[in-house]
Amino acid sequence: MMDKNLFYKAKRSLNLSTWLTHSILILLAFAMLFPFYWMLVTVFRPAQEVFSGSFHWLPQTFIGLENFHTALSQAPLLQVMINGVIVCIGVLVVQIVTSVPFAWALGKYRFPGKSVLFSIVLLGLCVPIQVPAIPLFLGLAQVDMLDTYFSLMFPFFLSVFAIFLFRQAFKSFPEDIIQAARLDGMSDFSILWRIVVPANKPVIAAFSVFSITAHWNDLYWPLIVITSEEMMTPPLGMASFADPAIGANFGALMAAATLITAPIMLIYTLMQKQFIQGVTNTGVK
């Protein structure tokens, strides 16, 4: 009897607090997504409306896809996005190929220099690209490799973040499976790539989202190392519009921004399930 009453009481209060929670979440979501909303609205506004003294929710004059036209014609956006794809994929592939075995070794093996290497990994987490930038720039200049895809990708081939993440995930991989595989005659190499990696797809997927997002949006290093237009990466392509001297063609800037930000958001949308799962699996403990 008492349980039933408690149940109904709980249910009602649950509904009230759920309703409240949803409201707060929606309000916060609105606040956090407001910049995106303004970005989209500006794409469909004529230049005159962009900076008016009063605030309007919707464009008073709808100019359709005009800004997209301008954006696409004024900047080589397609080329820029292709560059972004090439760089991100190139970086990601090397990152995974080098950090997976490294993390596996750190997690499961004993070997000389293990703790030294792990300390270097931790050190690496604290080192932003600005630190090795000058020596890397000078080095690349010496071998005349500036302004190339390689120069864009090189500093990022090593990902200590990937090593860190994967080690967490691999460490808890069941020992029995490994032993069984060994007894079956599988080499350690095959065990890693045929058993461990497929089992850890979510973590690798999660990391891939991080990596692609970071390198798609990277500004500092490309700014230093790229000089020709056809090597520009997405943020550099965007900078073509953000010009204080002329006051910035805002509509086109926002159109370009939408086009350039969209792929990343798309990737995230598609990979969301694995992304969350992957982060959970690393058991950030």
Partner: protein, 310 residues
């Protein structure tokens, strides 16, 4: 079956243990080789070069340079601009870290507490993390315009005075940290959600049986303590991210107005790539690195004590 059992199996007893052990070692060394080479080339060697450069007076473009010992460091410690940018970086971090950590935690708790729509909210709140900063920065600059920006419109309609977000040197760091929190909160939220999902339901049931029935009780007695390892990770990574602030300063304020947003990485960028005083920039870089290492170490030590490991 553990390795030792395998070793005791008949037939294998004749194989000297040392050789078997070294077999595993070797494969591990092959595994770490590729990344180690990269480590050397893109991390360690450049740091060493930066370290060496910090003792020279090399300027980018010069044909020659000389070693000047600790002169760069001495000059640095006497430079008030340098201390100012260190202090301002710290101020920025002191706003962004608690802001993004608490907001991330709050969002995670709320999102996980509803039955429906979790994925939807997770998606929405993570979006800012994926956006390209060059574009969003220009948007923010307008949103935070001192008079005609929407945020000020809102403030004015609520009866407050309008705030000169980017024009006032005393406020500019705060304005930048709003953007910083905006970009980081979603990321932290995801990490916290992962941590929350790892808390087994039995913990809550056990707590309820012990009398901790109300949500706040559950929060403080079960959730937060069990979340503390995640909390440590989030705080340390947020601190490092905050101290590495550069993009927003470079795109929006260029250190202004009147040096109000000079942060350490931007100062290094100016010194090394604008004024081309490479030796000096290298010295600043070395001190920056020391700072981050010390900060991370200290944080880990302090917070680790409070962490509850299951």
């Amino acid at each position: 079956m553990s390795t030792s059992n395998v070793l005791k199996m008949p037939g294998l007893a004749s194989i000297p243990i040392r050789r078997r052990k070294s077999k595993f070692d070797t494969i591990a060394l092959w595994f770490v080789l590729p990344a180690s080479v990269l480590m050397l080339a893109t991390l360690l060697l450049p740091i060493v070069v930066v370290f060496i450069l910090s003792f020279t007076n090399y300027e980018l473009g010069n044909l020659e340079f000389s070693f000047i010992g600790f002169e760069n460091y001495v000059r640095l410690f006497q430079d008030s601009q340098y201390w100012k940018s260190l202090w301002q970086t710290l101020q920025y971090a002191l706003i962004v870290v608690p802001g993004s950590v608490l907001l991330g935690l709050f969002l995670a708790l709320l999102v996980q507490s509803v039955q429906r729509g979790r994925k939807f909210y997770q998606f929405l709140f993570f979006l800012p993390v994926t956006a390209t900063l060059v574009a969003m920065a220009t948007v923010w600059k307008y949103l935070l315009h001192g008079t005609i920006g929407p945020v000020n419109h809102l403030l004015q309609s609520l009866g407050f005075q309008s705030i000169e977000f980017f024009g006032d040197p005393n406020l500019v760091l705060f304005s930048l940290s709003i953007i910083g929190i905006w970009q980081l909160a979603g990321f932290n939220m995801v990490l916290f959600i992962a941590g929350l999902m790892a808390i087994p339901q039995d913990m809550y049931d056990a707590a309820r049986m012990d009398g901790a029935d109300r949500p706040l009780d559950r929060l403080f007695n079960v959730t937060l303590p069990l979340l503390s390892p995640t909390m440590l990770f989030v705080i340390v990574t947020s601190s490092i991210t905050a101290v590495k602030v550069f993009d927003t300063v470079a795109v929006l304020t260029q250190g202004g107005p009147q040096g109000g947003s000079d942060v350490i990485l931007y100062s290094i960028y100016l010194e090394g790539f604008q004024y081309l005083r490479t030796g000096n920039a290298a010295a600043m870089t070395v001190t920056f690195l020391m700072l981050i290492l010390v900060m991370s170490w200290v944080q880990t030590k302090i917070i680790d004590k409070k962490v509850h490991y299951s």
